[in-house]
């Protein structure tokens, strides 16, 4: 598995939303996309799914069938009549195709994925009855049940309680250790520092990419967050409404 962007510009309907993207990710690496709202984090993730346009540069993206995607659970209808088990099974639909019936191996894979995210006891519950954090874990289980080589996560910690955040971080570390490459967008710099090997700072263009130690510094973050960054007298930087 290799993901490589060289001087890539991205956008929609020919209009650029993000430029100068230079990233390289290998199996097992964890990349966090950091930047304010509208910075282009989702655009970059969508480009890997073929849902935003690559308008320039060279992008080497793994085939779609080895990419998993975890959307934000808040975007989904909580009243939808579907069980947790059914949601996770959706991760197997691509391999099941149109005709093949669900088999024991599929059910086993679903059970294992639910166990991995700590929600075995919620399997029969309706998806919408779970907390925001639990729903996010269900969507993570749906993605990992397809055994992706590259996993994309769009703001996986938004509105997530501490217990679920810890559970998600643990699962992501396990997946990474097993060779799955991760790309996640986040506003939470502490999580990014704790979880990622590489940080990509974005705001309309790529400002920096490197290890957390290289990128999560006041001097690197200041231009990315512009007027949202407040310099304190002691040299530290505070981000307002990141």
């Amino acid at each position: 598995m290799e993901l490589r962007y060289t001087g890539v510009s991205l956008g929609y309907q020919g209009k650029k939303a993000l430029i100068d993207v230079e990233i390289r990710l290998k199996a097992g690496q964890r990349l966090a996309l950091v930047g304010p709202n509208g910075a282009g984090k989702s655009t970059l993730i969508k480009s890997m799914l073929g849902q935003s346009e690559i308008l320039g540069g060279t992008a080497i993206i793994p085939p779609r069938d080895v990419i998993g995607y975890v959307p934000q659970s808040g975007d989904l209808d909580p009243d939808f009549p579907v069980s947790v088990q059914q949601v996770v099974m959706m991760g197997r639909y691509r391999s099941l195709g149109w005709w093949r019936p669900v088999r024991k191996a599929d059910r086993q894979a679903v059970a294992e994925a639910l166990d991995q995210v700590g929600l075995t006891d919620k399997a029969r519950n309706r998806f919408g009855t779970l907390s925001g954090g639990q729903r996010q874990r269900v969507l993570l289980a749906r993605a990992i049940v397809a055994q992706p080589q590259l996993l994309l996560l769009d703001e996986p910690f938004n509105g997530v309680d501490a217990v679920s955040q810890d559970a998600i971080v643990t699962v992501l570390r396990d997946l990474s250790a097993a060779g799955t490459a991760l790309v996640l967008s986040t506003h939470d710099l502490a999580v990014a520092r704790d979880l990622a090997d590489l940080i990509c700072l974005l705001n309309g263009r790529q400002f920096a990419v490197g290890t957390p130690g290289e990128t999560l510094t006041a001097s690197s973050l200041r231009p990315v967050y512009a007027h949202r960054a407040l310099d304190l007298a002691d040299g530290r930087l505070v981000l307002v409404d990141p």
């Binding site: 939808f80 009549p81 579907v82 069980s83 959706m90 639909y93 005709w99």
Partner: protein, 275 residues
């Protein structure tokens, strides 16, 4: 209770309702979860000019072909319009609905038997269903059920999480077209029996009522189908009894739909208890 259905036209009407029940149960579940009530309403109106043209060209037997062509064409146009960025989904749907329905009214108003024809197109003639019509509905039912069986996973994924489904490699636009065509086929199947106005009830009410008692899709489909059949059975019986015993003219299709809505109202408290 069973005797009236030994009369051939009543038996055929009940058989027609049974076929519609089998397809409307599961299809209405997708209408419900995709929130396609307005689209369904639009489809029932947009087949109207097709029904009129078919009738004008070949009488009652031409209605099926006319509705089929109009239904499929409008399903395609509706999908294309709602995918465009220039109009919102509901505006595009409303434009198509009113335009096609107006064309239908213009066409039907040119006929000398205007009032009678309009009534039968809008409210159906459940008691005049012929064996041929029954066979056509049965063929459509098989087509719709097979199509649903092979696509239900993709349709479910798309309904629950369109972004996730697209990321998983499902073509959302094609799935939307597929479901719209299936809805059009259901409308075509039901339009002669219950009319272009009332057929929308068979697409919306079954799953909405079933949702009151279950949050499992398969159960909703089964309960929805059962409710349509019960409404059909009781509605026909009511219509028969009112006409023969009390000499009260009660349109059978209207009675069926009215009973379906009554079932919905009866089940409403169960939803509150569940909540």
């Amino acid at each position: 209770m069973i005797e009236p259905f030994s009369v051939p036209f009543m038996g055929r009407a009940l058989a027609e309702i049974a076929l519609l029940a089998v397809i409307c149960g599961p299809v209405s579940v997708f209408v419900f979860v995709r929130r396609l009530s307005f689209v369904s309403d639009a489809l029932t109106h947009t087949v109207f000019p097709g029904v009129v043209i078919g009738f004008a060209a070949a009488g009652v037997e031409g209605v099926f072909a006319g509705a089929l062509v109009a239904g499929v064409v409008t399903a395609v146009v509706l999908t294309l319009l709602t995918r465009g960025a220039r109009l919102t989904d509901d505006a595009a749907t409303a434009v198509l609905l009113t335009a096609m329905f107006s064309i239908g009214v213009v066409l039907v108003s040119r006929r000398s038997s205007y009032t009678s024809d309009l009534t039968s197109f809008l409210f159906g003639r459940l008691l005049t269903v012929t064996s041929r019509q029954l066979a056509e509905t049965a063929v459509l039912a098989v087509v719709i059920l097979v199509a649903l069986a092979v696509s239900h996973r993709a349709l479910l994924f798309r309904a629950f999480d369109p972004e996730g489904a697209a990321a998983a490699g499902f073509r959302v636009g094609r799935l939307d077209l597929w479901l719209n065509v299936l809805l059009a086929l259901v409308v075509v199947a039901g339009v002669r029996a219950v009319g272009t106005i009332l057929v929308v009830a068979l697409l919306i009410v079954p799953a909405a009522a079933a949702r009151m008692v279950s949050d499992r899709l398969a159960v909703m489909a089964a309960v929805g189908a059962t409710l349509v059949f019960l409404s059909g059975y009781c509605g026909l019986l009511l219509s028969w009894t009112a006409s023969l015993r009390y000499e009260i003219a009660l349109t059978s299709a209207s009675a069926v739909v009215l009973l379906l809505v009554i079932f919905y109202v009866i089940l409403m408290p169960f939803r509150r208890v569940a909540a």
